[in-house]
Every structure is written in C-alpha cells, then in structure tokens.
Amino acid sequence: MAVVFNKTQGLTEKEFHYCPGCTHGIIHRITAEVLEELGVLGDAIGVAPVGCSVLAYDYFNCDMNEAAHGRAPAVATGIKRALPDKVVFTYQGDGDLASIGAAEVVHAAHRGEKITTIFVNNAIYGMTGGQMAPTTLVGQKATTAPYGRDESLCGQPLKVSEMLATINGAAFVERVAVDTPANIRKAKKAIKKAFECQLEGKGYAIVEVLSTCPTNWGMTPVDAISWLQENMMPYYPMGNLRNPWEVE
C-alpha cells in the first residue's frame, strides 16, 4: 500500500491546543501543506495573531513572529520590506483582523504589500471567551451580546473580503470554507493561489476561511459545521472576488 495522506513537514510535532472539532487545525494543515508543496518552507516567515491561534508560531515549521493584536499585517510589512525575497504570511482571526487590526489589513492591501493573509472567520472571539466580533451574525448570541447581536446597536457583520476587494492593491481575494472535504480541497487551492500571487509579486493576497467555534457557539463539532453551512454561508458567500491572473 502507498501512503496517500501523511502529516506535512510544514507542521511541527507539537499538538494543537485547539478545542475538539475546532477547524483552526484544518486551516493550519492546508496552509502548511501549501508551503511544503511550493517548496518555500525554508523561505517562509509567518506572523501569528492574538486570539485562539496565538500559538500558531509553535505549529508552523518555519520562522515565525508573534504580533500584537491586529498588527500582523504591519509586522509582515516590516519583514517583507526588509527581506523582499522571503515568503511572508499572516494568520489571523476575525477579532484580530476585522476589529482591532482593521486599519492594518486595509492599508497592507492598499499598499499592495506582497504578503499573504490567511483570515479565519468563525464569527466570534474565541480565546477570550466568546465575545461578539465584527463578524458575529445578527441575532447570534455572544457573551457580550447575550440577547443576540442587535443590528440597531452593533450594525451588520463586516464582510471583510468584499471590503478588501474594493482595494486595487488586493490582488487576490477569495472566501472559502472548511466544512467538507471537498471545500477543504478548494480552500487549499485558494491558499496556494494566494501564495503564488505573492511569489509572482502581484500584490496583496487574502483568503477568508469560514470556520467553526464549537465551544463558544455552544454546539458539538458536528452541529457547528451544520450551523456554519446554514447561517454563515448565506451571509458570507464563498467564491473568488479578485484574481490577478484573470485580469491579464
């Protein structure tokens, strides 16, 4: 028998600290596989966020930086400007990127920084205990929205990919999900393109990954996948919003 699936060299041996069924692990794996498949693991420098994936620096088997909350795109900018030949990426959650780091991601895209962002949207603050995020759906309960997100007070959830797709410097923008094996394979393809976008010097690239948070959503991992499909997918449609190769 031939091995058809084995753990990638792009990940360290460290066990993920994530809760059972948390899809961060899937997104870590496909990102690491892409780095390995593109042969850039030795040139990769990643930037971890603050949030559940704060310890991502322990899991990716490449040089890593831990940024202040939301500042990963600024840190990545500093790295890429100093080492333009290296492959620089940020891995950020929705509290980190869409709230406190909104300015940093918008302007990294706006400058067309040749970096790649993996943006994990699970519609909640996970690490701090299930508080409302800019991406929390209307009516969705959170520990700081105990009656559900009230649109009249908190607005509608921020559609980060659509917003960034209005920026010319954002060369590659795609929203994917990791709810099924088929979608995971699509997500990996998008992440690969997002790194190729950087390798070809085309500009800023971001992949928004719809993800689950069984613990803070208060569901089993299997129910959380269904909730993502039924509630997040209609509001956050999947698909490519910017593709530098189609433009040419």
Binding site: T12, L41, G42, D43, A44, I45, V47, V54, Y57, D58, F60, N61, C62, D63, M64, N65, E66, A67, A68, R71, A74, V75, A76, T77, G78, I79, K80, R81, A82, L83, K86, V87, A103, E104, V106, H107, H110, R111
Partner: protein
Amino acid sequence: MAKVLMKGNEAVGAAAIKAGCKYFFGYPITPQNEVPEYMSKELPKIGGSFVQAESEVAAINMVYGAAGAGVRVMTSSSSPGIALKQEGISYIAGAELPCVIVNMMRGGPGLGSIQSSQSDYFQATRGGGNGDYRTLVYAPANVQELVDYTMKAFDMADYYRNPVLVLGDGMIGQMMEPIEFKETEKMDLPEKDWATTGTKGARKPNIVNSLRLQAPELEALNQKIEAKYMEMEEKEVIYESYKLEDAEIVFVAYGTVSRITKNAIDLLEQEGIKAGLIRPITLWPFPNKAFAEIPATAKALMSVEMSQGGQMIDDVKIANEGRLPIGFYGRSGGMVPAPQAIVEAAKELLGGVK
C-alpha cells in the same frame, strides 16, 4: 571630514543611514516631519525601504517586523505619536529586538502644541507601555550630539537587543548647526542568529515573540531583561558636569534647556554667584553617580525643564538622597525658559536657603 550645515531632523536621518539603517517606518507629525521626508528621499538610493504607515501604531509594528528580520531599523515621531507607539515599544522590549526610536518632543497633554517641550520625560524613562521594561534614552543638546547619539543608539540597540530612544525636542529638530559624521569605532556585536530570516531547512525555526503563557517562563524572561538593564545602569550612564567646582547652586538640566541653563550660569557668575550644572545625557539610566561630584559648597539643587511642575525632578530627588534642598524652574506648552528667568529663580532659591 568637513563639517556640513544640517537641520536636526535631517541630521538624524543622515546619522541613521551612516549607522547602517536602511529601513524606516513613520507617520507625519510636526515637528519631526523632516525625518520621514529625508528618509523617503535617501533610502531608495541605497536599496532600503521607506514606508509611510497608516498610523504610528502600524509604523512601530513594522519596526517590530523589520527588527525581527535582523535589519537596522528606525522610526521617529513626536509626543502624541510616541504615545501611540508605546504598544509596539513594549512588545519590542519583550521580544528583545533592537531598534532606534526618535522623539522630537512637543507640548502636551493631548494634542497640545507643535512647539518644543520636555514633558515626555516620564514617558521616555518610565516606559509608556505595559510591563517591566526600560529603554536606553539619549538626550542630545545640539545637532552634533544628535548625530553622534543616533549612531551610537544603533550599536547599543544591537548590543542589548532592546529599543533605544533618542529624545530631542522641536528646537533641536528644527535648528541648523554645523556637524560632522565622525568615524566611530566598530563595536563588537553578536551575530543576529535569533532573527527570522527563513530557516532554509538548515536550522530549527526562530520565533520572535513576547508571549510567555507560563508564569515561571515570563518571570525568567523578565529576569533576563532585568539583567540587561542592570548592565546598562552600570556601563551606559553618560553625563556632563559643568562648573561644579565651588558651586553654590547646581542646576540639573538636559537637552536644549541645558544650553540655556549654561547661559544662566554665566549670568550668575557675572553677579558673583557660583553655579554649576549636571547634564544627564542618558536620561535612563539616570546619572545618579554625578551627584557624588557635587561640592560641599553647594547649598541647593535646581531642576530646570520645559515642563510644568517638572518630571526629571523626581529622578533628581532620588539621586540627591535628601541631602540638599531642591528647587524647580520650568516653562511648558512650548514656552522656552529665558536665561534671566532661570537666574532670578536661582537667586530666589538661594535667598530662601539657610
């Protein structure tokens, strides 16, 4: 090397480039705009990179990234902008990264004014950010010193793996003075084998990080950093003592105000009053040992600052150890002390000292 006439803010940039800095991340704020302007013009010529960031917060985090990548990097700002940079400065200290930060102080609090001030002494020496950290702080008094200490700051930052602050003010940033770029001795600096430059598959990943979730690990990091601060306190203190011999009153002043205070000392001399000066050049570590040089003739100390009520005076009190009465003269909001006003304040203090 021949002397050239340069504006302080541009001289900072030239000194940084001379020291091997090719990367600058900044954000416009008066009265330091000539620093980023100069860097935006010069860095592309030497294969470096200048980024006008979206904010001071972003700029200092770009510095964090570039410093982590192992290059010499600088940012500059003025008081409210430095306040915004405190987040990043704390992280840079925690991750043990080297960088140089220039503050051309302006009046505060809040938006304050765009005129000169020294009201960020606490911010500079106590650290405006969170946690147990310090930054080495140089306070040049003229443009030549601004050049010299900016260059030295890069060596010190690399040696200690810690942010180094060059603390000037609007006056020193805006004034033009003749300067020369002296050839300095090359410091023996450790290799940056901790930098994140890509593993090339040849080593274990490097991680630039200030997070230590386990309490004993964070305490160990703090102990390691503290040991560096103790070494700085022992080795890096710089100060000038001026006319201390037989002085009846000893002023303590730094930066541009020390020059005005020297004028006041000359005026007092003409009136037959002997006055001297201790000028801290490193504000942190503060030159406590300079106070041992104060002669027995001294009846009082006076801290002179561009600050309302004084900030450095707290360190003067610590260094004085209760020995002499301490007076204060200060102006704020962009008002600059006049020599004659310092003279009057000194005479009043001496008149009241038994």
